[in-house]
Symmetry: C3
Subunit: 504 residues, 3 copies
């Protein structure tokens, strides 16, 4: 495979790892550095390519119905897919029992695939590849582990899989889109930053606040350890010889030489570590979940698994923030009435975004101080476009009155966004409301509580879950059932409410 001959991986300090790109045509501004130059001196950011890659891996893990869960040794592996058009995410998909991720892209996007970039969590099979190429996509990026047509299976299956792999190579060499691996090195302080912000994010913060004797740091570390172990099983080929064999069959023999191979493995592990940390910032199974305790509101919410999955998507997006201090992510999904061919069932992406300065200007040109600064003219607040605003602005689908549309936000929406969310026709908000009720002059969170006409699913403890934090020996109840905020009065209402959701 000639295209990867110029493979530009340079080994060296961890800070200096360059991008892994099979076809080298990626423009320097996009791929050659992890973070844009304008972020120098600021908090580290994920590159777009790494963000999309992480989201594709995360989409592969989209919660499945039990009956849909397949055997790990099957020939066709579940695959996550991120569709990107003009640098905006227009689709988050996951293969179903009936259809491959590529087939879902054809059904869901059809002619809109033209000029898109597709990020797969596994190399797609040639049946999908031929259609996607014919659709006129710009780039097909895949994670360099076991492909969709598994090469880890039995001998007989491998023969078909090898035929598939060789056909994929032939399609690649005859077609216009770039078909490539595209992993980029993380900024030197990325891991530390992700760990800090995950540990201190509002979700774990809410738990810490309500359970003061709980060692949240330990809880987080334990979670992350477990998640990383899980990911290495799914997204990594532990045996190096076997991995190299797979890479060779996929036409990536150039990636098998040192120092490129070690570099590749390190990039893969680095990204999985980021994913594990972010995943652990919204912990499962400790009695916490997204609950709507407003009696007047009818209608059911999502399963906790899916709500959590979408919130973690928003958490990942927050690592593209341009804000000097606080990253916020927002994702809008809707529940369609119809075709459930997608691995996400009836759920489809409407839009997503993170907080950022206006496009087209290097953000150092704008004031960046926060409300600790006296001079209000040098504060950032009038210039930053919020995650919710960007999610609405760059939505890829319209919000339909007759469907249930949901927004998932990593922080309580402010007074600027609350009327926008309501006016847009969104029906459910999934968020953590630690800032609710605060007034910081330049930015205030006073309107969220009194917001009527849509359902607010807040991250909080499930009253009925008696086991709750007991599983964790460090978890100790504070006095009062729900911690210091004392929501006892609401309990009675709440237990009557049919919309309450169980954390499975």
């Amino acid at each position: 495979m000639a295209a990867s001959a110029g493979f530009p991986v340079k080994m060296g300090s961890e800070e200096n790892r360059a991008g892994c790109s099979c076809k080298g045509h990626v423009s320097v501004s996009e791929a050659s550095t992890q973070t844009d130059t304008k972020v120098q001196g600021h908090i580290p950011r994920l590159s777009k390519a790494n963000l999309f890659t992480l989201l594709s891996l995360w989409m592969e893990l989209y919660p499945k119905n039990k009956k849909d869960q397949e055997n790990g040794t099957q020939q066709i592996r579940t695959t996550g897919l991120v569709v990107v058009n003009n640098r905006q995410i227009t689709g988050l998909h996951c293969s179903s029992t009936e259809l491959h991720a590529g087939q879902i892209a054809v059904i869901k996007h059809g002619p809109r695939l033209k000029d898109c970039d597709l990020y797969f969590s596994r190399k797609p099979c040639c049946t999908c590849l031929k259609m996607i190429i014919n659709a006129g996509v710009n780039r097909i990026v895949y994670w360099p582990a076991d492909p969709e047509v598994s090469l880890l299976g039995s001998k007989h299956r491998s023969w078909d899989a090898a035929l598939d792999a060789s056909a994929a190579e032939r399609l690649k060499s005859n077609s216009r889109p770039h078909i490539c691996v595209l992993l980029q090195p993380l900024a030197s302080n990325m891991h530390q930053y992700v760990e800090e912000t995950s540990k201190n994010c509002d979700f774990l913060g809410e738990i810490a606040c309500e359970n003061p004797k709980l060692n949240v740091e330990e809880l987080f570390a334990e979670h992350r350890r477990q998640k990383l172990a899980d990911y290495l099983k799914v997204f990594f080929v532990p045996d190096e010889a076997q991995h190299k064999e797979i890479l060779k069959i996929m036409g990536l023999q150039n990636l098998c030489c040192e120092p490129y191979y070690s570099s590749l493995r390190q990039h893969m592990r680095d990204l999985l570590l980021v994913l594990a940390a972010v995943d652990s910032s919204v912990p499962q199974g400790h009695g916490y979940g997204f609950y709507c305790r407003d009696v007047q509101e009818a209608g059911e919410g999502l399963s906790q698994d899916i709500a959590r999955h979408c919130v973690v998507q928003a958490r990942l997006l927050a690592y593209r923030t341009e804000d000097p201090k606080v990253g916020v992510g927002a994702v809008i999904w809707a529940e369609g009435k119809s075709s459930n061919c997608d691995g996400t069932g009836r759920m489809y992406l409407v839009g997503c975004g993170y907080n950022a300065f206006p496009v087209g200007s290097e953000y150092a040109e704008f004031p960046q101080m926060d409300n600790k600064q006296r001079d209000r003219e040098t504060r950032k607040y009038r210039y930053i476009i919020h995650a919710e605003q960007n999610a609405l602005l760059f939505r890829s689908k319209e919000i339909k009155e007759e469907e249930n549309t949901m927004i998932f936000i990593t922080k309580c929406p402010c007074d600027e966004c609350v009327p926008l969310i309501k006016g847009s026709g969104i029906k459910q908000i999934y968020t953590v409301d630690r800032d609710s009720g605060k007034d910081k002059d330049d930015i205030s969170y006073l309107r969220f509580d009194s917001l009527q006409g849509l359902q607010k699913f807040k991250w909080q403890r499930n009253i009925e879950d008696t086991k709750s934090l007991e599983q964790n020996p460090t978890a100790i109840r504070t006095n009062g059932f729900l911690g210091k905020h004392g929501r006892q009065v609401e309990e009675e209402h709440w237990t009557k409410k049919k919309a309450c959701l169980q954390d499975k």
Copy 2:
């Protein structure tokens, strides 16, 4: 503000005032002359920029529910907005009690704002500005009076307003879209032409015809006087010192010097005078309105206020006509089932147009004679695309079967357009039918009367309105209740009809 240094206003005869543009990048062909060169020797036309500006002012006056009417001294002022994409109007909006016009643009257009021009009736606040800039709009034009965040208010409010204004300037200097004032001088004979055609348009003509002793000219003049007084209150800052102060806070200090300042004021007054004349051509409160007297037709019409508002939009569009004699305008609106975040409630624009020769050819190449000319080959009729046709052709939304879609036309639709309107799925026509039943060989109006399957709301006297023209001392009833056309037979049907609409 360096951008307006090259401000190209030249004082001189009223006929020779050039365009007011803050950022000077507007191409000559578009902005430097009021009317396109091809209209030399013909009737005067409004430039597109002036048309959009007038429509933005008019949208600010969109009828409000009583409960929505706000206090005149509020900090945030109601603002009208025209969204233009590729020289076509794709949205007519008005801020609501909950949302600014800019927020409504984000909710209603989202990613479709890219490359659009936005015409605001007031300078938008920086919260809206940052989102609109981020959406990638091409140009943001505003009327240079009191901005959305009013600078006329109390001291305390002014401080916030000044912070907002200074942030807006900073956003402007760092962003790609043009953010500017764009007023263009009118052609020398524009005022006279607008007055003549308003006075003689079919709406006043219908009244004159049915009330022969009425002095319609006086009625028109009185209306216009009143309207102009109203507009000067809303769209003008009468005190020059205060106006200059506002301009300075908005970063338009260059506009405060003479002769530019006088020129600016004159341009503003000129446009308001045009609006007042057009507004007066469809007079309110003289017992006339849009009524559907067909018993078979079910369904209610719009309130008279809103119907009239939309018809005046069409009347404004008619001043972009390319027809050598008769300007016609058409506007299509639909009533959505859902989100009423817009100041227009559930009403949204589908399309609009005026009569014109085919695009891409200077129209002098086409025959321009009318049916007074013997030689049929030199007549214009086979070449002019009608207002209704252009409104359908350049619609920005699809016409939905399940929604009520309405067309507002300044003239009775001809036999060429009637089947087109019906086939398109439009359900209501608001028009004046003075030409109905006429056959002019090249163009005939025979099919409108027999048109079935949609409701026809015709401009006519409200039978039940006993006060009618009595308010005006010159108004005298003709013999017979409804004037010379003698519709007494229909009265009985009509009074039974539940769909009848009251002129409030």
Copy 3:
């Protein structure tokens, strides 16, 4: 008409006739050769222009309700229309009793007409032309026989028609779109190939198989003879003097000189012959039709006339195949709930396609062997995108859950396409299932029979039709009611089924 002065027709051998194009700006790669260079040495293909022309003629023949059938001597003739955007068909239309084809294009496509190519089966009238030109279309192509405003009528009518024709010429000379005749010579072996593949296609094959003593070849020949006679009446002006007169009135006087005129007539006849052969491959009135005999499936199918019309569209598309052996075509239509202004009633096109190698690569680069070849790596199957896949990929409309969407395929869908069709939300399949149940290793047809959740209308004999093949003296029943497949068991179910369709 200066534009056709450079008319590039070269007389010579039938193989070497060049394209007839009035405006000569058609790029060489598109128009100068019948078949793309990459097909050298392969089966002949229809050029895109010829395919679109054939489809426009065929759309003119779209089955009409009896009450809609107009008199043949009317002034306005029914016209077929193919709308092509970026080389993809986005609309197949037919004028109705109320609206011309051009008006339907305005209503159905509106602003999406920009940059489209429109292929009319007759030159459109100037009322439609002015709107279409104003919409910014790229090219207007028409069949050079009697125009929409018939020039074959009485004297009085001719005067209006002549005015229309002269206005059309003036519109043409002042406008940007190409308005032209565009007929291209067929490849030398095209007729033979179309005849062979029509005679041996699965539809006639199914009849031949079930009626072994029937001379299918004779049946086909008789059909084609009849069809050609019909077409010559509708699409040809038999009298040469009259034809030349019409061409002159339409501004095509340059086409009246020899050798261009003979060449034009020959091209017209050639295309009509292709259409007659393809039309005859799905014979009417011999007891065969598209029937769904599955008791569980509710819902009615289309009338046999319309189903057959759509299948013949797919058969025409199959002649653009890039497969070295088997051409397949697929067309997707949906039945809207609403506006029936189109001559196709509530039916509207969703997408269409044929089988081909991935776009952008000359197909000789891909393996082309079939499963007779031992070496599986050199087989074509992993590289060819199927007709159904392309129809979905390049659809111009979304598939809506609440509407009945149908796919028409010239061959039984394979196991690769079956889940794709089901997942896409298509509700009815019209096809011939001669391959159903076969497993050819590289391509198998095992899943079609067990496909649940949508209706399968298969090409088969209508049990109730007692006349059946008796009309044709050579038709003899095989033993058993339904031929060798013996479906007697199903009969009882089937006669109970309300969804059964009668072949009228």
